[in-house]
Symmetry: C2
Amino acid sequence: MAASALSPIRIDDPADPRIAGFVSIKERDLTGRQGRFIAEGTVVLRMLAAAHHAGRGLAAEAILLLESRVAGVEAIVREFPAEVPVYVAAAPVFDAIAGFNMHRGVLALGRRDGVSGRDALIASLPASSLVLAACGISNHDNMGSLFRNAAAFGVDAVLMDETSCDPMYRKAIRVSVGSVLTVPFAREGSAASLIERLQHEGFAIWGLSPAGETDIGGIPPAARTALLVGTEGEGLPPAILESVRTARIRQRPGLDSLNVSMAAGIALHQVALINDRI
Amino acid sequence: MAASALSPIRIDDPADPRIAGFVSIKERDLTGRQGRFIAEGTVVLRMLAAAHHAGRGLAAEAILLLESRVAGVEAIVREFPAEVPVYVAAAPVFDAIAGFNMHRGVLALGRRDGVSGRDALIASLPASSLVLAACGISNHDNMGSLFRNAAAFGVDAVLMDETSCDPMYRKAIRVSVGSVLTVPFAREGSAASLIERLQHEGFAIWGLSPAGETDIGGIPPAARTALLVGTEGEGLPPAILESVRTARIRQRPGLDSLNVSMAAGIALHQVALINDRI
């Protein structure tokens, strides 16, 4: 029997200490989890398995499946090392554990630690690199979408200032379709220090702004390019825009600027084409 | 005094029949509202005022403001005709009416009726036109985002098949930043009949698909172009893709395709550039 061949551990009590890491994940998302994160859904689970083996500081600690989903994800679950416990629960118990019903019956608890700091990550980038830099991103949907774009267009690293929200939040991981687990990133320091570091490492930095000087199609090819995007609503602050070159996405006048992740997607696509990265 | 100069009508009872249209708007969103819709927030309110005067079948029926927001939106509220009643409520009453707290204290009840059907809308398009066609869009965030892109890149009309969700839902309007109120649209009939109609009217139709034949940058300029996008997840069905030319967005291999609104935004930007529309 396919399901029993996995030998998952059956959980009948939502208070079972073995699945404590999955309890009330929606609320706990808001309070931080000491390097722990929740991966939801089949696609993200597959990417977590790959990330676990890639050994870049991401590891799975446990998997929790809805009974009816076991057979469907068995092949993916087998990609994890045998020491990662697999728990299974019937729907009422599963919902009582997770505390909400957006999990699609497939959850994993992961840990991210021992990853490179920002400057070490920048120093490790190849001679030909594309970086997405972001400051003040406060919305987890946008954060997830930025990572999905970064993965699609071959970004080598996403670098965020310390005021940006945490990409390891459950919803950001989900919206990124797991790209948060595959694209190297760092979130530390000020936007000014990040820009200084990138400039020092030879990056041409282009700040994206409706008031930018150059159309995104006119950004010249460069061995190292960093696209810089700012806060939802306000965009990049004037002091930042003065310290970098600026680019804009042409659009009809008189409208709100595009959403930050949409703008980043359009610009990354263009810069990736210009630099023959896709 | 600025606020009293508006002479809003004070509501102290959430059950007051005058504000019945605003009651429990979150739940009622799901059940249809007979041509009524809810506009939320300052920006959308401003666009509703403009739409009201443009006379394309959109009208405001009432405005409901949180007491503390009256002064801040007074100038916008004055753009509406005097016969549109303006109600004001203190926070507890306001929340009891709306039933949730995502409204930012600025709500308007609108009506959409007497608008052109699909074929009349197509027939009214200028000789040089850009259309966004969509089938099977089921998510209101994506729908709103499609309209925001359409507005940004100068789309003349958004045409959806009957299986797509209603752009007049509160959340779609909000995500579109009001563009649903300004970009003409129709949602009726099958995708096949929509394609047939557009072909008959001389549109070059480009179906967007990861398996598309032409890079979006290679779509030739044309007096009339329609970009066609499909369902989240599945994309455009094979039978549809066989009936149109197809275009793709280059991206790194081995990943999930881009979100439909992101893909549409990137492609519309490109097609708008190619056709000198932005």
